[in-house]
Symmetry: C2
Subunit: 174 residues, 2 copies
Amino acid sequence: MATSTPHQENLTSSNASYASTFTQGHLALPPAKKYAVLTCMDARIDPAAAFGISLGDAHVIRNAGASARDALRSLIISQQLLGTQEILLVKHTGCGMLTFKDEDAVGLVKKNLGEGGIKAVQQGFREEFLTFPDLENAVRSDVEWLNQNKGIPDGLVVSGWVYEVETGKVRRVI
Amino acid sequence: MATSTPHQENLTSSNASYASTFTQGHLALPPAKKYAVLTCMDARIDPAAAFGISLGDAHVIRNAGASARDALRSLIISQQLLGTQEILLVKHTGCGMLTFKDEDAVGLVKKNLGEGGIKAVQQGFREEFLTFPDLENAVRSDVEWLNQNKGIPDGLVVSGWVYEVETGKVRRVI
């Protein structure tokens, strides 16, 4: 095993402190409040604090851009195997997926990692980086895509929101 | 817009309280500490608290089982577009992906959603639910898969960990 990096040391020491006062070992596998939150991996979002999620209450799925397509496997598992019945989809201002275009991402990967990198991308996720040009439209279109997806039960409630990284506020879009 | 559900109301009211004392609106898009944490969507994990991640420091990617394959798009974006240089991959005890098998998941989707559901699953992610029978081996094999993936730069540091939902403790696997 390699020597610890500063981030690995931070994980170990922060966690030792967390575990020393941990009292939630009894929580069950299925989310107690039967809902899932889908949001972005962005470093400026703390879903538990900003969206009021207590430990054990909800699945939290995070990927680049809070993409519904990218999250489909997790969403289906969340509902079909673990009983969630509602999705809160939260994209955010200042998102990297708004800043970049697919062709920029493809160009960078080709420049930095060569054709092998592009091939790995294609094998992994079909060469789409799922960037989007307009925030509110992206929220609406992801919610509509989920509502029409046959892998998502008809009774499931899906709402779409925007989180503002500048103010810490969420607002509902759909 | 539909009437608010209790989860939507909780999001709105919790967030109003969060935003009222929010002071971090100046944070930049790229993670300040240049690393990404990949962990599970499980409701019993609070990565910020349990893994010592301050707001703005790291990307947090979450999916069912902390699957590296499922996270590939986000990981490549994290590194190629937003400058992260290290991945902490954290799977956990009691994971749903340990509890279920792919054929169980496929069977349930077929039963609940019919052939249309299975077709949607296939279009979304090729019919694999990415369950795994052994926790430590799954951590190792995901780290190795990332290390060999041509979409991930050679210099990137990847370590693999297990979080115990019973104790709140993390331990390093690889």
